[in-house]
Amino acid sequence: MNISNIIDQQTLDALIKFGINVLIIILKIAVVLGIGLLHVAYATYFERKVIGHMQVRLGPMRVGPHGLLQPIADGLKLFFKEDIIPEKADKPVFYLGPVIFMAAAMVNLSVIPFSSHFVIANINVGLLFIFAMAGMGVYGIFISGWASNSKYAFIGGLRSSAQVISYEIAMGLSLVGVMIMTGSLNLTDIVKAQEESIYGMFAIPQIVGFVVFTIAAVAETNRTPFDMPEAESELVAGYFTEYSGFRFALFFLGEYIAMFIMASMATVCFLGGWTLPWYIKVIPFINYVPGIVWFLMKVYAFIFFYYWIRATVPRYRYDQLMGIGWKILIPVALANILITGLVKILL
């Protein structure tokens, strides 16, 4: 029996086209996930090396040449470690916490435009989607802090929720300036608007927004000097004190992917994504370099900045951190929106 007897040629073509599209998307997801996980592995290596050299030591050196296989050894170790669950933990929720945390971070990778045609889902509310998912991550932190049935984890979870919620406001407001200048929430459009603008990247006209975003991004990902939720000297390990083995690794993965997302956001919204400003493009032959190279370079420069901060500054206290968020960053971001809006109307 011939297949064309059942469905006509037109439908078949459409189906094949649909199938190919699905295949391409799956392929893209596989590539992005693969790169994402590899990134996490080597971001830890990069971090340890960078901080090591900043602190007059070498960082990992033993596993493989210059410790290059260290992340793999770490992953293996975490995988084979005993999975300890506290007796009095709320078990279903305890299992769910790290999954939510990591899934919320990973799903953001789908809307990040790595290059002009390389984005899994080119949706019109990309920026909003990332905010929403970053907000979801807090649930992971909070319920794992709650379910652990440990006081340190509980305090860590509380701190983290308060911190992420307050810094999300500052971060959202800092990006409003970019939205006003672009007139779109689509991340690809934001990059294109930067390429067409006279500045080449929004970090120049939106310098205030960029600074606010950078600070808020550090707080959002719970890193030094805002690493209150997991402040090791106070709360042992904060919300994941009771987690071990691969559940702990999921938090780790989530944190590093969140860092990658924040760095990508900075790159896309302020540093021109995969494009180069016109005043750099005048350098001969530079156009032959594929856009993804510029994208990754900008992302890793931003991640390097994260590491640099970590090696340099002490940790804020909880109330000081909240003070900075509410009393400085949010008013500054609001003023930035006002000025950007006024300029947009007047010009």
Partner: protein
């Protein structure tokens, strides 16, 4: 109004958090039970004793020499200072004095230990507050000091280098050269740490106005050392009751004004510079001479006096004179090689093939029946009996007598005069006091330590209440606590 209604329905109470004894920031095994209202501390109860090893009690059953290594294990971060404190106290009890050179050497190593201690304090204090890099920078220099320790005594942490009546051995010239190089380099290294934190906004926010204690209160809480000086009290035992060579060097006692964590931090930073200055002066003024007091009743003498016996020029034999031997069996039991045989109440004999020539029997024999015959190795018993009638050479008798005394001395310990005595020294953490009650035997009747860490741990509730959880960590850091010393 609504709140009052809510209070009727819900019962609210403080969260009770157990911080320690296993916690990354309690500097060992300090346990704090915190009652927190949100993030605010309502009540702090420190619990100590998790590292209790009974050093005070052990001191009562050990001779004055044997108790010295215990003091290493108290404040293991600055073992030298503890050793010096103990030695100074015991010397005063014995009524002896170390030679000049030893005093200067002790001042040098004491100040090195102060620098090493403050470096570790700064490293951990900064790490607790979140500045991670300072930690490794400090350890770089601490490592240098530990290497220098290794040059003079072979140990890095539990040194036992200062001894009662002096120091164990003289310092080599290369040690002084390296130390001089260290003192030249070190001030610039302090500046390096300060660039990271001294004017850092976050550091100032975390330390200024935290754990404030006024001068009067600090004195009445019994604080000493930099913890007290941060409140503006210029009390330093090195200045007011000088021991060792502190009265012959010039140095300032840095004090703070506010009595907060930042002032105590500044005090310690300045103290490191002063210590550096003291070390330089001591190296310049280091006099020649012996390093151990010539007090045979109280101090162990150099080992070269025993050389004729322990390292003889002519191989010798040990022989028991039949007439003198009463057959008491003391030597028989004491001989490690089981080379002596014989029946009770009859003269014993030595099996020359088994004899190790360790002189144990010579020391043990109460009837002077044991003879040492130089060049007697391999001779027959008859020949030895013939030679035994000749007097033993004087140097060997002297060495043997010395050996006997040393043996007795090490076994029973020097006998201290009766009495009570309290001697305090300025260790990096504060005033370390030793209180001895001596009943005239070779062991103290009671040894009591005034450990600054213990007293400072008691001040923690005063410093923490009303602050936030994160400030507890800053407070633990600022009093510079080591639980080995606190629990003893």
């Amino acid at each position: 109004m609504i709140q009052r209604e809510a209070e009727k329905i819900f019962e609210t109470r403080e969260l009770n958090v157990n911080m320690g004894p296993q916690h990354p920031a309690t500097h060992g095994v300090l346990r704090l039970v915190l009652d927190i209202d949100g993030e605010t501390i309502v009540k702090v109860t420190p619990y100590v004793g998790y590292l209790h090893r009974g050093i005070e009690k052990l001191g009562e059953s050990l001779s004055y020499f044997q108790a010295l290594p215990l003091t290493d294990r108290m404040d293991y971060v600055s073992a030298m200072s503890n050793n010096i404190g103990y030695c100074v106290a015991v010397e005063k009890l014995f009524g002896i004095e170390a030679p000049e050179r030893a005093k200067f050497i002790r001042t040098i190593v004491g100040e090195m230990s102060r620098i090493a201690n403050h470096l570790l304090w700064l490293a951990t204090h900064a790490l607790d507050i979140g500045a991670m890099t300072v930690f490794l920078y400090c350890f770089r220099e601490r490592e240098w000091i530990l290497d220098l320790y290794e040059m003079i005594c072979g140990a890095r942490l539990t040194v036992t280098y200062p001894r009662i009546g002096g120091v164990k051995n003289d310092v080599p010239q290369e040690f002084l050269d390296s130390l001089w190089k260290f003192t030249e380099e070190f001030p610039s290294r302090i500046l390096e740490y300060e660039t990271l934190i001294d004017q850092n906004r976050i550091w100032l926010l975390r330390t200024k106005g935290i754990g404030v204690i006024s001068a009067e209160e600090a004195v009445s809480w019994g604080m000493t050392g930099p913890t007290l000086r941060g409140s503006g009290v210029p009390y330093d035992i090195r200045k007011h009751m000088p021991y060792d060579a502190y009265d012959r060097v010039e140095f300032d006692v840095p004090i703070g004004t506010e009595g907060d964590t930042y002032d105590r931090y500044r005090c310690r930073m300045l103290e490191m510079r002063q210590s550096n200055k003291i070390i330089r002066q001591c190296i310049e003024k280091l006099p020649p001479g012996p390093v151990m007091a010539d007090e045979p009743k109280f101090t162990l003498q150099p080992k070269d006096m025993m050389m004729p016996i322990t390292h003889p020029t002519k191989e010798m034999a040990y022989f028991i004179e039949e007439k003198a031997c009463k057959g008491c069996g003391m030597c028989l039991r004491a001989c490690p090689a089981k080379a002596i045989f014989g029946e009770k109440k009859k003269p014993h004999k030595i099996d020359q093939a088994l004899c190790l020539q360790c002189a144990t029997c010579f020391v043990t024999c109460k009837f002077k029946a044991m003879k040492i015959i130089p060049g007697g190795k391999g001779l027959s018993d008859e020949k030895l009996a013939e030679l035994a009638t000749a007097p033993v050479p004087e140097e060997i008798t002297k060495a043997a007598e010395y050996l006997v005394r040393q043996f007795d001395f090490v076994k029973k310990g020097p006998r201290a005069p009766e009495g009570e005595l309290y001697v305090a020294t300025e260790v990096p953490k504060g005033e370390l006091g030793f209180y001895f009650v001596s009943d005239g035997s070779g062991k103290p009747y009671r040894m009591r330590l005034r450990a600054p860490s213990f007293i400072h741990a008691g001040c923690l509730p005063r410093l923490c209440v009303g602050h936030l959880v994160a400030d507890v960590i800053a407070a633990i850091g600022t009093i510079d606590i080591v639980l080995g010393e606190c629990d003893r």
